[in-house]
């Protein structure tokens, strides 16, 4: 009994002095591993693990590996450890499963030197909020038990611990910076922040007197407003969002929204300003989020619950996640099944040989033997000739046989600003035998397998084995006849390519400039139902094209841009008895992945271009294999013009992103479903045109159902007077709005229909707008 008690005591002591995450020196190696965000992570995202290594033994090269239970791959970081060296590395674990622990090992020469289980916490369908604040910032977030879903999990981290890769932030859905000297952040940390937001993160910047300090070091895209002097911020927007009485005016600052940003709907000065960046969002608060009045306000939990929401959220096998990465990767993974055409062996020589043989074996031999009156020798001559030809043909066939391996690489490059781009490259490999491939890649790229997915032509699996980080090469085994794929992602420098929309002679023009050393092929600008083909842009070239003032007549409303961009190629393969060209299908998938969000969203005009080579290469070493590489560059043009402008029809279009109105499909394409009485219709200009002051506005309403000939009142919302104004309109048809300026604010127009409008069922609206950009 005494021995048992002693043993238990020793075990207890070991637990106290040797906590999880720390491995004692073994073979002269000391290892401490700490997962970021206290181990909280979003399944499907990356989790940085900070690893401290101290080598008290001889110099050695080790591999630090992290593996999820039962996973078929490991993320591995090779490290050189001279004698007496101390190193800190960040190992990124691809959290492709919902697990509560990961196994971290340090290995050398195939032997495990140190092994450790690190506890982690999956946060499925939760809002993981990171807080970086110089003081102990307290927020009155809703309690987990008070919420029906999407509870908050808060992790606090010092500014120095902010990851310097966007992938390192991918587990976070929200990040609050309050009173943080962002100027002290490293350039890599700033770029990581920009990349993370553009990929779907929601950055909240605290206001109050320290707002300027917090904003100072952030990239311009992450600064939705310019901070001004101190001001009392009205609580109306807070009260409106919380659905409760407000906390009273808050001490804060005056915010001046950037042209692309939108201020909080009520109150002056605005309580916050929001700006979308890619598929993410930045919210600049005018007030300090830790203001005691706000913390004490009973409506605060509801307020934060409503404010801290993702701009776009898509569903994944693990549940909803901010951004569209999972959705995009699913589309792209499916496209990998449209494999490139296999390498074909030369057949002409063999066919020529067979043609000669056919003549020889028949009339040739017969005529030759007839000369000697020995036709009966045909019984021997023909088999002999057949045997000889057969040996030659089989021999040639075996010698000329083509490589049956197929390498398929598709890459999506999204320009996020500041000369930066986010590149994701999916590489699919198909081989007839089990073999290990080696690929050259940028050491900075993070590589992970993708979940098994189905495409139009079959299924693809993720690769297995050790996937190295910070290494110039990557090796992975491939099973026979299975397309196996690997995803590399990286935020990288991509300077020199820019697009802007400006105003010339009251018309919108798009201007594209290529100062990079790459040729941009088949450049198109697209928005709504418009597709402008800008052609090829060589390095140093610039192109300007006026945006058409009428949409194409044969295009239905709401037609997908991927179809419109590749319309001719797709139509060519959809005739009776024809199959689509697989390369076109891959292009369609790339465009679709770049633009579709799983929901109807409207991020404004976009420019697409095809690159010959991806800036993020995963060059698989397989000479002779059939290859196809396709890279799509995506960038959003910025608005820079001022002056009078005629906005093309279709630019002021129904907004679905808020979820307040639902789409419907009719003979003319996508409309807005008439739901409820009154029925409110929201129209929006693309981001960047918010400051437009309307001078002339014509709205045309059509419907799939019969528009009631009586009993329908049409109203427009007057933003200045903050009230609905009834219009003299006997629909359907055209409504010319007199003095339209008050009805359009920050690019948004609200129309309301009261009465029997439900009979119209699905409403189509076209707007012709003329105005002045300040």
């Amino acid at each position: 009994m005494k021995r048992i008690i002693t043993g238990l005591f020793i075990v207890l002591l070991a637990q106290v002095f040797w906590p999880p995450g720390m491995a004692r020196a073994q073979s002269g190696l000391e290892v401490v591993a700490v997962p970021a965000f206290d181990g909280n992570y979003q399944p499907g995202a990356w989790l940085p693990i900070h690893v401290y290594l101290k080598n008290t033994g001889a110099a050695r090269a080790v591999s630090v590996a992290v593996q999820l239970p039962n996973a078929s791959f490991r993320n591995v970081h090779p490290v050189d450890l001279p004698a007496g060296a101390e190193k800190r590395i960040v190992l990124y674990g691809a959290m492709e499963q919902e697990v509560r622990s990961v196994r971290l090992t340090v290995e050398a020469d195939g032997a495990v030197l140190v092994a450790n289980e690190l506890p982690v916490r999956p946060r499925i369908n939760e809002r993981l909020l990171g807080i970086v604040a110089s003081a102990d910032l307290r927020l009155s977030l809703p309690r987990r038990q008070d919420m029906a879903g999407e509870p908050f999990t808060v992790v606090r981290l010092p500014a120095t611990d902010l990851p310097d890769r966007m992938a390192g932030l991918s587990s976070l859905g929200f990040l609050l910076l309050a009173d943080v000297p962002t100027a002290e952040l490293s350039p890599a940390q700033r770029q990581a922040l920009l990349g993370w937001v553009s990929a779907g993160g929601h950055l909240i910047i605290g206001g109050g007197p320290t707002a300027a300090r917090t904003l100072a070091g952030l990239p311009p895209q992450l600064q939705p407003a310019t901070p001004g002097g101190a001001a009392r911020v009205p609580d109306a927007p807070l009260a409106s969002l919380a659905g409760a009485s407000g906390p009273g005016a808050l001490p804060g600052i005056r915010l001046t929204p950037a042209p692309t940003a939108r201020a909080a709907p009520e109150g002056d000065p605005p309580a916050w300003v929001q700006q979308t960046v890619g598929v993410g969002m930045v919210t600049q608060l005018a007030f300090d989020p830790g203001t005691p009045v706000l913390v004490a306000w009973e409506g605060a939990p509801r307020f934060w619950d409503q404010l801290l929401r993702s701009f776009i959220q898509t569903s994944t096998p693990f549940g909803p996640e901010p951004g569209v990465d999972g959705y995009q990767e699913n589309i792209l993974a499916g496209a990998l099944t449209a494999t490139p055409t296999i390498s074909l062996p030369p057949t002409q020589v063999i066919f020529a040989l067979l043609a000669v043989y056919a003549i020889l074996a028949g009339p040739g031999l017969a005529l030759a033997l007839k000369r000697f009156d020995a036709q009966a020798m045909m019984w021997l001559a023909v088999p002999a000739l057949a045997l000889l030809t057969g040996v030659v043909v089989f021999g040639m066939a075996l010698a000329l046989r083509a490589d049956q391996r197929v390498i398929h690489q598709i890459s999506l490059v999204e320009v996020i600003g500041e000369g930066q781009a986010r590149a994701r490259t999916l590489t699919g490999v198909l081989a007839p035998q089990e073999q290990t491939f080696i690929a050259d890649r940028d050491p900075g790229a993070l590589v992970r397998p993708l979940r098994a997915a189905a495409g139009q032509y079959g299924e693809v699996d993720g690769v297995k084995g050790d996937l190295a980080q910070e290494s110039p090469t990557l090796s992975f085994p491939v099973a026979p006849w299975r397309i196996q794929r690997v995803l590399a992602e990286q935020q990288l420098a991509f300077p020199g390519v820019s697009a802007r929309i400006s105003i010339q002679n009251e018309r919108l023009v798009i201007e594209m400039e290529n100062r990079s050393d790459r040729t941009l092929h088949e450049v198109v600008a697209a928005y709504g139902e418009y597709v402008l083909r800008l052609g090829r842009l060589d390095p140093g070239a610039r192109v300007i094209q006026v945006w058409p003032d009428t949409p194409p007549a044969d295009v239905r409303r709401g037609e997908t841009l991927s179809y419109l961009v590749l319309r001719e190629e797709l139509e060519a393969g959809r005739g009776p008895g024809q199959a689509p060209d697989r390369a076109t299908l891959v292009r369609e998938a790339l465009v679709s992945a770049a633009l579709s969000r799983g929901i109807i969203s409207d991020e404004g005009p976009v420019v697409l271009a095809w690159l010959e080579r991806s800036p993020l290469q995963v060059a698989v070493r397989a000479p002779g294999a059939a290859r196809r590489e396709m890279t799509l560059l995506v960038l959003r043009p910025v608005f820079t013009g001022s002056g009078a402008v005629s906005v093309p029809p279709g630019w002021l279009r129904p907004a679905f992103i808020t979820g307040e109105q639902a789409p419907c499909a009719g003979i003319e394409g996508r409309g807005v479903a008439v739901v409820g009485d009154p029925f409110t219709l929201a129209l929006r200009l693309p981001p960047g045109m918010g400051p437009l002051r309307a001078e002339a506005l014509t709205l045309t309403f059509e419907s799939t159902g019969r528009w009631p000939n009586a009993g329908v009142a049409t109203l427009l919302y007057d933003w200045e007077r903050r009230r609905w104004v009834e219009q003299d309109f006997d629909g359907p048809g055209t409504l010319r709005v007199a003095d339209p300026a008050p009805y359009l604010r920050e690019g948004q127009l609200l129309a309301r229909f009261e009465g029997r409008i439900g009979e119209a069922r699905c409403v189509y609206v076209d707007a012709t707008l003329r105005g002045v950009m300040p």
Binding site: Q375, V382, A386, G390, V393, M396, R401, D461, W481
Partner: protein, 333 residues
């Protein structure tokens, strides 16, 4: 004893005669040329579509070629096999030389067997001559030696039966024109009629797969079933079964191309049935070839009866193997 003497000089004479004239040379050129043209057309058609639709692997192109070539050769064999013996007996009657032949020491059995052996040898020569075309398949791969052996066996069974059938028609009608008419009318009826009957059965039975017995005697269906098992590699691409689409019209009730696990080896049943039919036709031909006292039983009949009996015993012993082709027993490889 001379009646049973299958002496080689008779065969040698037949072999020498067969190669005289241009017919044999033309048939050789036609056979090999058509096989080459079929291979070229198939390759062209496949290559033209390689960029479109479901991806094809090299092995699958090999299978398309293999299946297309095999079906082409089988079709040619079906129609050429009777053709090489169609005039064997009728020509002697038409020339009035048959009575003279009976006066020679060559017995009718030796005469008939000689004609049959010559025809078969020529058909084998055709197959051998066409073999180099299959070298193209090696360029793409996807076919095993077992697949080749299976196809060769079906071709051989078709050749033997076709030759005997041609002889039978020749002996029955004693006119080359009549024999050709009868032979090809029956052949077309057998091939088209069996597929049509299978389709009708399917139509009136809620589109269920018809019993394989409908197409058991159809030589093209037999070849189709022999090719079904030449499966593409198990790939993660949906286009894997695409080459088998070539066989859809021929394998009604034999193979469900969506799920090949229940495909029946019809060719086994066809081979056994062909063996039985061939023996019966040979027996009838031996009697029909005689100008008089045709149906008098001889020791040849006894020998053939014994052969048939032996065949029946073997068929019974291996009933599980070949009746699987009719869907009566679980199949095997």
């Amino acid at each position: 004893m001379r009646r049973w003497d299958l002496s080689i000089p008779v065969l040698f004479k037949e072999f020498r005669v067969f190669m005289r004239g241009s017919r044999a040379a033309l048939m050789l050129a036609l056979y090999v040329g058509l096989a080459t043209i079929a291979a070229r057309l198939l390759t062209g058609a496949v290559v033209e579509q390689l960029d479109r639709g479901a991806p094809l692997l090299s092995a699958q192109i090999g299978q398309v070629l293999f299946m297309g070539l095999s079906l082409t050769l089988q079709t040619l064999t079906v129609f050429l096999s009777p053709a090489v013996t169609l005039n064997a007996i009728s020509r002697e009657y038409e020339r009035g030389t048959f009575e003279m032949l009976l006066l020679t020491p060559v017995p009718p059995l030796q005469f008939v067997i000689g004609k049959l052996a010559t025809g078969l040898a020529f058909l084998l020569l055709l197959q051998l001559a066409a073999a180099p075309v299959f070298g193209l398949v090696a360029l793409f791969g996807g076919v095993t030696a077992l697949d080749l052996a299976r196809v060769a066996a079906v071709l051989f069974a078709t050749m033997v039966t076709g030759c005997i059938f041609g002889l039978f028609c020749s002996a029955l009608t004693r006119s080359t024109y009549g024999a050709a008419l009868l032979c090809y009318a029956l052949l077309i009826t057998l091939i088209g009629g069996s597929l049509f009957a299978a389709s009708v059965w399917s139509l009136i039975n809620a589109m269920r797969a018809p019993p394989p017995a409908f197409v058991a005697l159809n030589p093209l269906s037999a070849m189709g079933s022999a090719l079904v098992t030449a499966q593409p590699p198990v790939v993660s691409l949906a286009g894997g079964l695409r080459p088998l689409a070539l066989l859809i019209p021929l394998t009604r009730g034999v193979a469900n191309l969506g799920d090949l696990s229940d495909a029946v080896p019809l060719y086994r049943a066809t081979a056994v049935l062909y063996a039985g039919v061939s023996l019966l036709l040979l027996w009838a031909t031996l009697h029909l070839a005689l100008p008089r006292r045709r149906w008098r039983l001889t020791t040849v009949d006894a020998a053939l009866a014994l052969l048939l009996l032996g065949g029946l015993v073997l068929a019974y012993g291996f009933r599980g193997w070949w009746m699987a082709g009719l869907g009566f027993a679980p199949g095997g490889a």
